[in-house]
Symmetry: C2
Subunit: 345 residues, 2 copies
């Protein structure tokens, strides 16, 4: 009956919905990192010309949307729905961006999994014929996240090496059926996985089982092995969580190889002091909308899976003794004719 | 090209997706109110047997989902996706409910518009063939909202008469193509409307223009007058906002009559001290999933529009001088053969 679903949890897209264009806007630290050539705009400081960090984050999302729409050769008036999420309470980056761009708006929350949650929803609306064009976006900002989730930034608290550095930036993608961009092929939604971990300074380890769960569900549903993808990236498991996910997958019969990477390990150089690596909605958003789509457009990658991971607690749930519920949403992209395995190794 | 869209912003559902069953779980004050006979469960106190208000809110959403699924004659295992939202930071009520029920989960944020935002998405997934069954839910809790958005509850701060009382409770609906429930006919997503109002104790007035905007867009898109509906309810405009919305609509050529009501004015008796009326995600969720669906099932209402309104600011954006961005999402339900105008007057 559900003709667009394969197996237990995977949605299949077969009407030609694709990422028509995408854009990524980065903060200063990201702009000095490994993917600096892949960003459409880099702000030289964390304020991005605004008078608060929150307004700076919003500006980055507004910019990412504007740039992606412009690159798609259309206008924001032609966008039927804007689907977006971020890390801030009440999704204010996304909601204020929706106010600026005046596109009908669906707010979503998936913590750092927001990038693929919103991309999935944006693809569904086009695939099913509700929209001609949609635009998906996600953002995070180191300074806004720090003061909301942890301590006042002025406090300068030390952190263990398992902590991660919230990435500052925003990414957006325009979905439609025209153009030459990579096709959205499958999406596998996550279930909440909670292994009882409670350490907010070790989110990668908490999220790894959720990533493995969604990847396993996806691979079983479509009957593939990890190596059949040119690139599989998790969103922000970083140095601690990513090997745990690989280990869990191997134990379940899905051995990964050099195609398996993590966005949180692709953004900063080792000497940039990002602890275990990057995190935040912008981790997977910058890598997907800045780097991966471009690599696919240029024919260097053909089949890619992005598994964005999110930790769904808040400070109150943590204070009330709850463990960290995690989730991962996967989207696969295909560029017919592309791919020379250039990402491997 | 977008064959399921009518006019500018309205999605059309024509493959028979319907609300198979629904349930509403209410707090103690709501359980003494005007719709007390319509709730599936009423908790005698705000803790609902849990050890914190946050956990109580979650319990209400968990219950609403369980009860709705049970009434649908299916099991949570058969639910393909759970789509939910609430008012708490990082959507913790929805996310922890997703952990409990272990259904693939899409978190959404639309403040008090979450009820219709999630219902729209749940209907899209079934309509388009991605899912056989989905379950949508929304919740709010007076005590969790007070302490998160305003002051510590112990402070006992006074409020002006324009303030509203956040409704405690949760509602859920199972969407599918089987059964005899009301069909989802149209959904019109909102744009963010911000008239520059900044008073968090007068949210109804801030949200009224958003409700009018979405209702106008809907009526223009499908070419109908308000009076062609048996009932049109806004989510939580209450005593101040609802007349403003009616006035705005009349000025734009859409005169409403006795069919136009507000969920925030339907829940509490006048002597229950709810200021201008109820608010929160549970306002429209309790009325829709407790009262309206039941009235439709029993043939007393045939065509209903629910316009859930949301205010998308957070305390930080307010402190940074921002006005209140508002949104309204509308869903229309139809029960063929039902409707005797019993709601009118």
């Amino acid at each position: 009956m559900a003709e667009k679903r394969i197996g237990q949890r995977t949605f299949e897209f077969n009407s030609g919905v694709r990422v028509v264009a995408s854009a990524a806007v980065a903060g200063p630290k990201e702009g000095e990192g490994l993917l600096k050539k892949d960003y459409d705009r880099i702000y030289p400081d964390n304020y991005a010309g605004a008078d608060s960090w929150e307004k700076a984050e919003r500006k980055m999302m507004e910019d990412a949307v504007s740039l992606a729409v412009e690159k798609a050769g259309v206008s924001t008036d032609q966008m039927d729905v804007f689907i977006a999420g971020d890390l801030l309470n009440q999704n204010i980056s996304a909601s204020f961006t929706a106010r600026t761009h005046q596109i009908p708006y669906m707010g979503m929350f998936g913590a750092c999994s927001a990038s693929m949650l919103t991309l999935t929803t944006a693809a569904i609306l086009v695939e099913a014929g509700f929209c001609n064009y949609t635009v998906a976006a996600a953002s995070s900002h180191n300074s806004t996240a720090e003061r909301q989730y942890r301590y006042p930034t002025e406090y300068g608290g030390q952190k263990p090496d398992t902590a991660q550095w919230t990435v500052t930036g925003a990414g957006a993608g325009v979905l439609g059926k025209k153009g030459k961009g990579p096709r959205v092929r499958y999406a596998t939604l996550g279930k909440v996985v909670d292994m009882g971990l409670k350490n907010p300074f070790d989110m990668g380890a908490a999220m790894a089982p959720a990533a493995a769960d969604t990847m396993e569900a996806h691979l079983r549903d479509i009957g593939k092995k990890p190596g059949e993808y040119d690139l599989i990236v998790t969103g922000d498991l970083a140095g601690v969580g990513h090997p745990i996910a690989a280990d869990l997958l191997e134990k379940r019969g899905f051995k990964t190889g050099e195609e398996f990477k993590d966005c949180g390990l692709m953004i900063f150089r080792n000497d940039q002091q990002a602890f275990a690596g990057g995190s935040g909605c912008a981790s997977s958003a910058l890598v997907t909308y800045g780097h991966i789509i471009d690599e696919m457009m240029q024919g260097r990658l053909s089949k890619v899976m992005v598994v964005a991971t999110g930790a769904l607690m808040n400070p109150v749930s943590y204070q009330q003794g709850e463990s960290i519920p995690c989730i991962a949403h996967a989207v696969t992209l295909e560029m017919p004719g592309g791919g020379n395995g250039g990402e491997k190794g």
